[in-house]
Symmetry: C2
Subunit: 306 residues, 2 copies
């Protein structure tokens, strides 16, 4: 069969919601395959699915909270896709194992699709791939896409770019509110969740977070939840729904923001890839000049054009 024809068939299978085709498509974008851009071109304009980014420090229970949200939205009849960025996966195999464990809870439910994505070698690769996987899931007809990241800074910012709503997940005992504000996380969340609400200090943390927002132009909801007991999940869903309802009503604002983020991540990924390819031999020559004292690293870097 012609490769172009195969790709067209893959594209139409994805758009019909075929799970195997979707998995294959995501692998293509994850591997940065040469056919990935052609596949993506056939996905149409994104903006059907509502994309919720979920971020926060490691250990705050983001995965469990995502599982609760899946349950809550399945009860509403929505089809839910999940992209989980797993930092431990490249070495531990956590991604694949994690998928299997997590899928087990939704076994046989065709309305749920979970995919873990591991960080790749070159900078910009992960955000490009997650943004492209979102487009494939969107085209496959999912209503809600949950994008769960590791909360280590870089990926937080990228999540913000492509998501329609961002949940920042925290937990009691995570250091004082000043640390949270320093991290720049105060600017990115649409909803703040103090998870593990059964732990001492949850109420105090909510109060501290609220007081941080006082005197700023923003006043996002700050909620308590417990992914373990299910406490507060209904209120969390309500908070998400308040952001989703203008989106459902056709408001272009959030769609535009997400598409803008996708364009930026795609361009950024392409730029990084180009730099990775171009630079090796030229950098070698420039390194010799730096070592010989003929130029500095700053000047050499400026001459290493992308």
């Amino acid at each position: 069969m012609e490769p172009a024809l195969q790709l067209r068939e893959l594209a139409s299978s994805i758009r019909r919601g075929d799970r195997v085709a979707l998995a294959k498509g995501i692998t293509l974008v994850e591997n940065d395959s040469a056919s990935a851009p052609k596949l993506l071109e056939q996905m149409g304009t994104p903006g059907r699915a509502f994309v919720v980014g979920i971020t926060g420090p490691p250990g705050t229970g983001k995965s469990s909270l995502v599982d609760r949200l899946i349950e809550a939205y399945r009860k509403k009849g929505l089809r839910v896709g999940v992209i989980a960025v797993d930092p431990s996966s490249p070495l531990t195999g956590g991604a694949l194992l994690g998928d299997r464990i997590r899928m087990a809870g939704h076994a046989g439910d065709k309305g749920v699709f979970i995919r873990s994505m591991a960080s790749r070698g070159w900078s910009g690769g992960l955000s490009r791939a997650t943004s492209q996987a979102i487009r494939l899931m969107d085209a496959a007809g999912f209503d809600l896409i949950l994008l769960e990241t590791v909360g280590i800074g870089q990926s937080d910012i990228e999540v913000v770019g492509v998501s329609h709503a961002v949940l920042v997940v925290l937990m009691p005992g995570l250091g004082d509110d000043i640390q949270v504000s320093k991290a720049g996380l105060m600017e990115v969340g649409d909803v703040y969740v103090v998870n593990k609400a059964d732990i001492e200090g949850a109420d105090l943390m909510v109060v501290n977070l609220l007081s941080l927002f006082r005197g700023t132009p923003r006043s996002p909801p700050v909620l308590k939840a417990s992914a373990l007991s299910g406490e507060g999940i209904d209120k969390l869903q309500d908070a998400v729904e308040r952001i989703r309802s203008p989106f459902l009503a056709g408001s272009p604002e959030l769609r535009l923001k997400s598409i803008r983020g996708m364009i930026i991540e795609t361009a950024r990924g392409a730029a990084m890839k180009k730099l990775a390819v171009v630079s090796e031999s030229r950098a070698e020559k420039l390194a010799n000049q730096v070592m010989g004292g003929k130029t500095t690293i700053e000047r050499a870097a400026a001459r290493l054009k992308v």
Copy 2:
């Protein structure tokens, strides 16, 4: 005082090995201050300090191993600088707290300087900053610089670029050897350490790693160690010394490799920053065109030139 004069004084204080000046300089590069490139220009050609990158999955005990290496190299009379990339720090304040706890073990020892660096908002920022912090520590007269990363893929590759030697730290029970080989970590290490050697499965893991290298052109040492008991640290140090001795003897090969890595990271950081600045308003227009079905995300990204 003239800013230029202040900067010259800061530069000469760093080159004299002044710790307060060094800390200040690292903060300048960490914050990507406008004066950072000027400061770096005054640091001279790097290549005095031997830079050891330490990478591997979270939880393998890299920090404890680094502490053991500090001890071992202090006994030899070397001045040791440490840069620890801390993924949890943006939110938990782990970086600062971690510094204090770790420094406590070396309190009053002017021959040790430990600095944690947190991941920043834009891609490429961290690797640029760590590479620049290495140059400042190098200029400040440290003999050995230990660069400890989080082992989540991207930073691994960047560590390889600027380090003279790379230690990959693993532990028993981390999934099978195939996962390790898939992660691309088989290509990057100069020395492989199975840490927590007291845990069951350490010997098997060493055997598996050795068999992975059989039939490849590479045969790096694979060692067992226990940062807890100190077992195997002497052999680990020997392995590092075998790489360091040609470097000490003046061999340019590793110095060139590291300088090349620094040029690439500096250029990459500059490219990402430019993209972050340029794109917002232009991306907005392109997003409107994508939403109107006039173009695709791929074509829009191609037009969003860096």
